[in-house]
Amino acid sequence: MWLELDIHCQLQAAGQRFQLQAALRCQSSRVVLFGPSGAGKSLTLKAVAGLLRPDAGSIRMHGQPLFDATAGLHLSPQQRRIGYVFQDYALFPHLSVRQNVAFGLCRGWRNPARGCRIAAVEHWLQVFGIDQVGDLLPAQISGGQRQRTALARALVTRPQALLLDEPFAALDHALRTHLRRELESVLEETGIPLLLISHDPEDVMLFGQQVVHMADGRTQG
């Protein structure tokens, strides 16, 4: 069991109240969180990454507590070492593809140099076939290349888990099939467990060794 989660959270935005009540026991290394938009899937993912602090409950990863409301424990996202790919990728628009991928490897207050060559970065650029566009900005590359850049950026830091928020939603059908296979082989190689959000049945078919349904802020089953 690489992820155990049982959280409760009440959110308020624009006068609307939303109750999140999620429980997950991730046994298999590929888990799909499946449900319509507005079901609370992204919020659940954010809580795992430490970007949202639940009101109550606990989250454990590989047996280590990440969040425990009763103990007052809430590890920062920086301490969790979890790879997170946002739905619209959240690539840094002022940095080249190569700098984006190198971002998490370079500490300090300065961004990696434009001409930097880091072995791990070059490796992932090649794995995803984006080494040719390494010096371009995110705005200058295709949607599929952006997706691969975001994946490479998350994987290069050797995260203890990978969280993907609707990773293929913005891509056309052929590219989606191709990228799913690419991701599948990368996961196979690295052994990094995956939690993926989707409302696409095809994602469930390929990655859904375990599927958790979610609706109206609640996980089911």
Binding site: L51, Q78, R80, G83, A90, F92, H94, S96, G104, W109
Partner: protein, 228 residues
């Protein structure tokens, strides 16, 4: 005669430069604070800091005089603790110029910071970046253009500061008589030749600053497009 004119220009540049340097730090800090932190009185603080732009300069000057004058809370403290008297010094002109031009820096800075997608900062956090590091590597570079434009306008505004400056710094030729005050004095004294010259110098400097501003802002946007 000519020496005196250059000293007024030099003094104006020095005062505006110092005021802009102060506002670089203060404006970015305040802009970031107002954009990213929610605290009670946030909009009130924004309004109070905007006042120097709206208030008559003499009112602003009077407030400053009350604050830094030898009987004022800050002035008395400086006098007692350090033997510093700010009134009628060029440093007082810097304070007046800084306060008067601060809104031109922190307002655009706040808007620029609010324009930065919060998700990019979250992405940086999941990649292990500390808060100061992500500020300097993500937030600031993305907000920089808006801040730079504000800084240059603030510099021009500080160059032209008159009302508050004359109240706290006076008009001591060669020491606190800035370009805009020297022009006023020249006109008062009926010295048209001198006034004409100073007005031309002042206009040229302002046009120069605006041209540099347009160039810098234009170039940085060009950079973002054509790095490849």
């Amino acid at each position: 005669m000519l020496d005196l004119d250059w000293s007024a220009l030099w003094l104006s540049l020095k005062v505006a430069g110092c005021a802009t340097a102060i506002n670089l730090v203060l404006g970015i800090a305040l802009g970031g604070l107002l954009a990213r932190r929610r605290f009670p009185g946030r909009e009130l603080l924004d309004t109070l800091l905007t006042l120097p732009m709206i208030l008559p300069p003499t009112v602003l000057g009077y407030y400053l005089l009350v604050l830094i004058g030898s009987n004022g809370p800050l002035g008395a403290w400086l006098q007692r603790g350090f033997g510093i008297n700010l009134v009628f010094t060029w440093q007082a002109a810097v304070i007046a110029a800084a306060v008067a031009s601060l809104p031109l820096v922190f307002k655009p800075a706040r808007a620029a910071f609010e324009g930065v997608d919060g998700q990019l900062e979250q992405a940086a956090r999941t990649l292990g970046m500390s808060e100061p590091a992500l500020f300097f590597r993500v937030t600031l570079p993305l907000a920089w253009r808006g801040i730079l434009a504000g800084l240059l306008l603030a510099f021009a505004r500080a160059m032209g500061e008159f009302g508050a400056t004359i109240m706290v710094a006076g008009s001591i030729p060669g020491r606190t008589q800035t370009l805009s005050i020297a022009i006023y004095e020249a006109v008062q004294a009926g010295n048209d030749g001198r006034a004409n010259l100073l007005v031309l110098v002042s206009s040229a400097v302002c046009i120069g600053v605006l041209l540099v501003a347009a160039r810098l802002v234009g170039r940085s946007s060009g950079d973002a497009r054509n790095v490849a």
